[in-house]
Symmetry: C2
């Protein structure tokens, strides 16, 4: 039987309340680096703790082990980030979806952008990834594809090319409709649309990109 959801909590800022609202009892929980602390502070015991623990300190590890957490230590000299290693481990559960929290709360843009890049890495491994915080829900899209969105608190909808073009983007149920429009990377045409109906749909014919649902703080 495959696991439905693996939750990876990365090292960025993530509120305990957000974790409490989004984690379900049957989820597999992986903490990457400081994400272990975020999970524990929110009242969850992660199944796996993975990282070089350069920021959390190695002295916590014995306590974590006594809680039954499996610790996967990484060398600080590694070729992948803690988040990336956590996703590699997440795939061993053969999940339907991987949800990633704490991926863009930090101040460092290299971490944030590399984390968002991991959504494509997951897609290359045929796993759906969702990266989410209190103001954003981000997913990767690869054409030809169709994404259905339900009206939610994240009411802005942005379509952002990762490849040079997203070809023939068509939207249904958005305030500013696009009709077979090629959206070019570096342009800002696809930013800050809004859902007008209860559900919206975005289709793209070719290219890869991000669908970002967001709200003002």
């Amino acid at each position: 039987m495959s696991i439905k959801r693996v939750i990876v909590v990365a090292g960025g800022t993530v509120a305990s309340r957000f974790l409490q609202e989004h984690i379900q009892e049957e989820d597999i929980l992986i903490g990457a680096d400081h994400g272990v602390v975020a999970l524990l502070e929110a009242g969850f015991i992660p199944h796996i703790a993975i990282g070089d623990f350069d920021t959390t300190g190695k002295e916590n590890m014995e306590a974590w082990k006594s809680l039954g957490i499996e610790i996967i230590p990484l060398s600080i000299m590694k070729d992948v980030t803690d988040s990336h290693a956590a996703l590699e481990h997440a795939l061993t559960y053969i999940p339907e979806e991987v949800h990633i929290y704490g991926a863009f709360g930090g101040a460092r843009m290299d971490h944030t952008l590399a984390n968002i890049g991991l959504l494509e890495w997951l897609n290359n491994h045929d796993v759906k990834g969702i990266m989410q915080d209190e103001t954003n829900r981000v997913q990767f899209i690869k054409g030809p594809a169709k994404v259905t969105l339900t009206k939610s608190e994240y009411h802005y909808i942005s379509v952002l090319p990762v490849s040079k073009y997203l070809e023939k983007v068509t939207t249904y149920g958005l305030v500013y409709p696009l009709q077979e429009k090629d959206v070019c990377r570096g342009e800002t045409l696809g930013i800050s649309n809004e859902i007008s109906d209860r559900t919206a749909m975005i289709t793209i014919e070719n290219g890869v990109g991000l669908i970002i649902e967001s709200k003002d703080r």
Copy 2:
């Protein structure tokens, strides 16, 4: 005579102290949306205020005009973001460089990512763009290219592909050297390197990407 630097202050969070440390007397100052307020709060009178001013309120405009600020109002129904319109205007000065502040301080990832995408748009218009805040300095790179970096407070160096591959990346003066290495988008190999010497150099043969200098907060 061409203008050396245009500064665009976008609508994200930006500290007054940061603006005071980075703005020079001869700079042309453009405030995009809430960036106008950030400039004024830091003691600078922008030359241009551009935006739909949906967040700052239109009632400020008369006061701004009396300060000699040229106001370029945008429709809320526009095809580009305020930041994008500000950069379009920046190009009319034929600047050598455009520095963009307040581009990734906000909570909304669509704004942050679209702003970073504008570095490529500037590059397509043959203008060097630098996007910076207190923890990050981001520039766009298009191969074949060579970037020289000077050791600074932003001591982490990350090389992030935007195209599917950055081909034959070679680094000099970094702690974890790369030698004609193809870096694949979605992998995290190029993240969190560090300058070992006083200066470092990164060369890439083909592809487009970002060079991010950063520091922990």
